[in-house]
Symmetry: C2
Subunit: 405 residues, 2 copies
């Protein structure tokens, strides 16, 4: 039995629409166990820990928690801080001062790494601490994890958005470029494939960061589809790059003779801008002489749209939080662990929950399996089989093409 | 009793997520009346009429029609063609050839005008024709109409998107610019106000085309909000312009030293591009030295997102179609009519259906009532009272700020 003490929970990195489900999973389960006295919600992740800026989650009613669970984005506040060794020492000092014996950190691979370092500090100091990384990322790029909470809902949004946009494109034909989040991993962009319902439905072309992007091949692809169907819907990852790894935003800026802005670190900001879609539109207009070319960038809506989550994703996000609390009751679970989902079967879809050493998840990320990529511009049936159960119910649709001629 | 004959139905202009509800309302109601023999669905609006490219809607099962009703965008295909006098003659010729005695045209003010011209041609030729304009536009800018089908669902999407984005912005603070459709009328951008739930919730600033946009005043507004809240969420119409009526995209391109592309008519394309949001972001970054500034352009998702409509809007869209068929049974309804909704009371929300001379709706559009605009950068309670019943259920949310300190 784990020693009694307080627990801290924090949320980190880009929010998702179900990240609060995990928070609420922890908060409600913690009430059932004896080893957690006060559950302290750290405001804005690690920053709240070092500043001792806590919300007393024991005071939150179940009714409020259930509404928080339905609310997108981090209810405790998030942070982009990536703690160095000194920062981690300050986190540990805050834990000692507040008698924190359990640490739940909801986030991606960077958050897992922070949690690992803090747990190591505790062990070196012979301080009893049990640390649990609770997975979260719409990018779905955590190693060992079959998939991550947040992905299913973002994928449902993307698939639905492309489905609607494809119907729009059928009714007013032209070329449409839709830019989807994902700097390094193409899972979310790949999920656009789930929008297809009828023959010749879009997305007709899908470009992920796992495949080097070639503007000339792209123009050839668009030309071919447009000549066949008189329209073309394209799903493209914001993170596409050329064979040197240079982001296409930079390559296209040069090709089109445009300026591109960079931040103080020299990184081109990919999200929160329509620049890639606009560049690709301009490329098509100038080379293919197609009149109606439009682009949309799905932007933050993918990760924050309320009231339209995958129910599978929501309940799994809740459960990973609950599983972390159950595991924290065992004092032997003190090496720093990440709660993972393993897929038992696909039809019917079944998963089981397990734990893995946090080191297996921290730092590095994973990419789309090559078997999920079809040619350089499409996604395979294997990916559809993998992703379909994660998004839950997709919209019901109908079209007059179903009628016999 | 109207003479027996065939009927044509067409869909025109920018699609909405409930435009097929009106189509299905017509198709199902037509089966109950004796005066409509074949119901011909014109592919891509007026173009399908002159090309005699019709779908026999009598052959569509009720089950298929119900699924079509749930599907966004024009199931018959839409068109941007604006028929001139000769084109209208060809429409009328097609009607004569196909013994069309009833014409249902689902669209905005331009479609109403086309319908009016064709109806006038029939009357001049002593040809019995009953023409009904069925309203549709997310812009909500039709005169006489209290509101238009399509607006409520687009407004629900916009309010939900801004609500989610505002939670995202609370969890990772910064400045966020969200660009919303609406070239001339600010109804849809104004609907962003419905996102507010708690004190200090966004959108903190709302800019509509009915108010001349001043970049310096804008920067002052953003600076003031950001200094107070350490964050700022901004909703802006794509159609904002300066006091000369010049689109801000053009004004800002000059101010920032950027190029802007125009179509063959010299019009700057406003939708299907992230350019306005990116320009406003750059303006804020360069003048206010705020680090985290992002923009999203909601784009076509506002009018085509499936599975997330306003139920009020969906049932009203169905009903305007049904009312058009009922009215078409009366041979005296031959002057060209538009089906309108009148608001009887607001609490509880009640409307009644009526008909108006199509001339009252055709050509000119309406704008936000001055009483709906508050200062130059906000929307009034009067608009909230007007728009709230139209969007139906908004997402349930919760925040820890509800807890007593």
């Amino acid at each position: 039995m784990a020693a009694k003490g307080n627990a801290v929970i924090g949320q980190s990195g880009g929010p998702t629409s179900v990240i609060n489900q995990s928070l609420v999973g922890v908060a409600l389960e913690a009430r059932k166990h004896g080893h957690i006295d006060r559950l302290l919600g750290a405001r804005h992740g690690v920053r709240g820990i070092v500043n001792e800026d806590f919300i007393e989650l024991n005071n939150a009613s179940a009714e409020l928690l259930e509404r928080v669970a339905l609310t997108p984005a981090a209810a405790l506040g998030s942070t982009r801080d990536k703690p160095d060794a000194d920062y981690c020492q300050r986190i540990f000092a805050s834990f000692q001062k507040n008698n924190v014996r359990t640490f739940f950190y909801i986030g991606g691979n960077d958050s897992a790494d922070t949690a690992r370092i803090v747990n190591d500090l505790a062990r070196q100091a012979n301080y009893e601490l049990r640390t649990f990384h609770i997975p979260k990322t719409i990018d779905n790029d955590l190693r060992v994890h079959d998939h991550t909470p947040g992905f299913g809902s973002a994928a449902k949004f993307v698939a639905s958005a492309i489905m609607g946009d494809d119907f729009d494109n059928k009714s007013l034909p032209g070329v449409k470029v839709d830019t989807i989040m994902g700097r390094n991993a193409g899972f979310l962009t790949a999920a656009s494939v789930l929008a297809r319902h009828y023959e010749n439905d879009g997305p007709h072309l899908i470009y992920v960061p796992e495949v080097d992007f070639d503007p000339d091949k792209f123009l050839g692809d668009v030309d071919r589809v447009y000549k066949k169907l008189n329209r073309c819907v394209i799903a493209v990852s914001e993170g596409i790059h050329d064979h040197n790894g240079t982001p296409m935003v930079v390559v296209l800026a040069e090709k089109l003779g445009r300026a591109v802005e960079k931040d103080s670190h020299g990184n081109v900001q990919l999200s929160g801008s329509g620049i890639l879609g606009d560049f690709l539109s301009d490329l098509i207009k100038s080379h293919l002489k197609i009149k109606r070319v439009r682009s949309d960038t799905f932007g933050y809506l993918q990760r924050s749209f309320p009231g339209y989550v995958s129910q599978t994703d929501a309940s799994e996000a809740r459960e990973v939080g609950r599983q972390a609390v159950i595991a924290s009751a065992d004092e032997n679970n003190n090496i720093g662990l990440s709660v993972i989902m393993k897929r038992i079967s696909n039809q019917p879809y079944r998963i089981e929950y397990d734990l893995t050493d946090i080191r297996n998840v921290a730092r590095e990320t994973k990419h789309l399996d090559p078997q999920y990529i079809k040619g350089g511009n499409d996604i395979s049936q294997a990916f559809i089989d993998y992703a379909r159960p994660l998004v839950g119910q997709l919209p019901t649709v109908g079209a007059f093409t179903e009628m016999k001629k």
